[in-house]
């Protein structure tokens, strides 16, 4: 287990190092000088040079890369060109919207998908299964931003149950804040739930064919009890992988939904920073999202190896 952990940790570090290089390189070749963007086209050459020096843009590229990575390792994500505030503070503010939104959506998607997937698997080939699977096909095909517009039309404009956009803020109380995240979370959760239900069903179907399921039934467990005690536990591994992936996807994937609902989350931060050429913010937020994905995958892998010794042996 220790050897396996060490190997996976090493590959985690290499992945992160390469990812940081790629992000830095992509953003560095971007046309558009942040300094001239901030000062406008009429800025004098010496003012530009002064600002570049202040932002550290006049240093060689490799030095800036090392400074950026070194800073991040110490929790310093740099200073926004545009607002002159530490990027880490901006990220922390936005995470208070994006992370609850992602968790909220994940919870909703799990609540819908688990019963739907389990029901479909237990009715394999019958009308119930076919209709659940048909519904998931449609769910996967719906663009979440379009679904968001429909939710706004029905629940905000016609029924007036929710506001059409914006974030109440946590200082207005938990209920008010969660209420303003509800429509976005539903919009995000629907396609995710459709995918998750399909994975749940197919994973459960694989397990139901196993010999130990027959044994469980033979020793006198009812269908439902066998499904709960032996089927579900064994079906959870692929489901957990998808859940892990979905959490990291939802953190980043809210980017368009945040636009639809004018939520001040990480996605909108990236959007605003890209259009303002606030590259240091773009770099750091992207790196943070990649870090989240890679780390979640790493933890999921470790969790499997801890549960299933066969995986350790293979590595």
């Amino acid at each position: 287990m220790l050897r396996y952990t060490f190997k996976r940790l090493l590959s985690l570090i290499i992945s992160l190092a390469i990812a940081s290089l790629v992000i830095f390189a992509v953003i560095e070749v971007a046309p558009g000088d942040p300094a001239s963007f901030m000062l406008g086209i009429n800025a004098a050459e010496d003012t530009l040079a002064a600002l570049r020096a202040e932002l550290g843009l006049d240093q060689p590229k490799w030095q800036r890369y090392l400074a950026w990575v070194g800073g991040m390792l110490q929790g310093d994500f740099g200073t926004s060109y545009q607002y002159r505030t530490p990027v880490s503070e901006m990220i922390a503010d936005r995470l208070w919207v994006s992370l609850p939104l992602a968790l909220y959506a994940l919870a909703l998607s799990t609540l819908i998908a688990f019963p739907a997937g389990i029901y479909a698997a237990s009715r394999r080939g019958k009308a119930g299964d076919v209709s659940v699977m048909g519904a998931t096909q449609v769910g996967v095909a719906i663009p979440n931003f379009w679904f968001a517009m429909m939710l706004v039309l029905i629940f905000a404009i016609n029924l007036r149950w929710f506001s059409a956009g914006g974030f109440a803020g946590w200082d207005k109380g938990f209920v008010a804040a969660m209420k303003s995240l509800t429509l976005p979370a539903i919009a995000l959760a629907l396609p995710q739930a459709a995918i998750l239900a399909r994975v749940m069903r197919s994973s459960l179907l694989d397990v139901l064919d196993e010999d130990f399921m027959r044994t469980a039934r033979a020793k006198g467990l009812s269908r439902g009890a066998a499904l709960r005690r032996h089927g579900l536990r064994n079906a959870m591994i692929p489901v957990l992988t998808i859940l892990g992936l979905q959490l990291s996807f939802l953190l980043a994937g809210g980017i368009i939904i945040e636009q639809v609902f004018y939520l001040p989350g990480l996605g909108r931060l990236i959007f605003q920073s890209i259009s303002a050429r606030d590259l240091i913010v773009v770099e750091s937020v992207t790196m943070l999202l990649v870090f989240a994905v890679i780390t979640v995958n790493f933890l999921v892998d470790l969790a499997y190896a801890a549960v299933d010794p066969r995986l350790r042996a293979r590595a």
Binding site: A141, P143, M149, I274, S275, I294
Partner: protein, 271 residues
């Protein structure tokens, strides 16, 4: 023939026909503004109604299908063109450093949040159909590399491959002449799935203004136009929305149907 295949094939064919037909005929000029007839709901003259400039939505949907199909097609092409050779190469050198590098590279691309990177690429290098294609295409490469490698690995252990090696064929020739034809099913099914994801991604990018630029019509931008008017003219949002949903649904059903038709035992990784 199964029903899934017929339904999926029918829906997909409908979109392709609409796109092709739009080159020679549309009920109205898709870009012609006609303010007196603006915001009409679907009726006998304007089958899908009109938008806030009085443009005919049916014609715009037809021409928009061209954009969606073209972007998704080229993006899938990039994925196949680069991903399949990489996957074949990795499988031929299974366990070697080439395999290791290609697969770790794949993992790395998977770790990037695709939509964020697509937005980054289009925002930095300019919004437009070409950059949208590249941004979507990059994320198709690891998908095809992985499917190809996964399909090719068990084949390398088979006797007909051994026979080809004994006959003196090198790994490259075996990959092209023997492995590729045997995994074609797998690739066709994966291609339909990636095609549908490409259409969704194109719509999302156009929606935020980073996809195809005016005057090229696109379904995503029609939705963006509809957003502020959704309370007074819901049909402007419903029409492009249904076009996207039916196309993506059709392609997914086509993929499922093809998988069953080509090989019942076939399992394609679809998430």
């Amino acid at each position: 023939m199964n029903r899934t295949l017929i339904l999926g094939g029918g829906l997909s064919a409908l979109m392709v026909i609409a796109a092709l037909l739009s080159f020679v005929w549309t009920p109205f000029d898709h870009s012609a503004m006609n303010i007196p007839e603006k915001l009409q709901t679907p009726n006998g003259t304007h089958w899908f109604g009109t938008d806030h400039f009085g443009r005919d939505l049916f014609s715009m949907i037809m021409v928009g299908a061209r954009t969606s199909i073209a972007v998704a097609c080229v993006a899938v092409g990039i994925g196949i063109g680069l991903g399949v050779p990489l996957g074949l190469w990795a499988a031929a050198r299974q366990g070697g450093w080439v395999d290791e590098v290609i697969m770790r590279g794949n993992d790395l691309i998977f770790a990037f949040p695709s939509l964020v990177i697509a937005i980054l690429i289009t925002a930095i290098f300019g919004a437009g159909a070409i950059n949208a294609i590249i941004a979507i295409g990059i994320f198709n490469i690891p998908v095809f590399a992985r499917v190809t490698r996964g399909g090719a690995l068990p084949l390398w252990a088979r006797e007909f491959i051994l026979a080809a090696r004994v006959a003196g064929k090198g790994p490259a020739r075996i990959s092209v002449e023997h492995i590729l034809p045997n995994i074609a099913n797998l690739l066709i099914v994966q291609a339909t799935i990636q095609f549908s994801l490409g259409i969704l991604a194109e719509a999302a990018l156009s929606y935020v203004g980073l996809g195809a630029q005016p005057p090229t019509p696109s379904w995503g931008r029609m939705l963006a136009d509809a957003q502020t008017l959704v309370s007074i003219a819901p049909h402007m949002a419903l029409v492009p929305g249904f076009a996207i949903i039916l196309t993506v649904l059709g392609l997914n059903l086509l993929g499922d149907g093809l998988r069953d038709a080509l090989d019942p035992k076939l399992r394609v990784a679809r998430v």
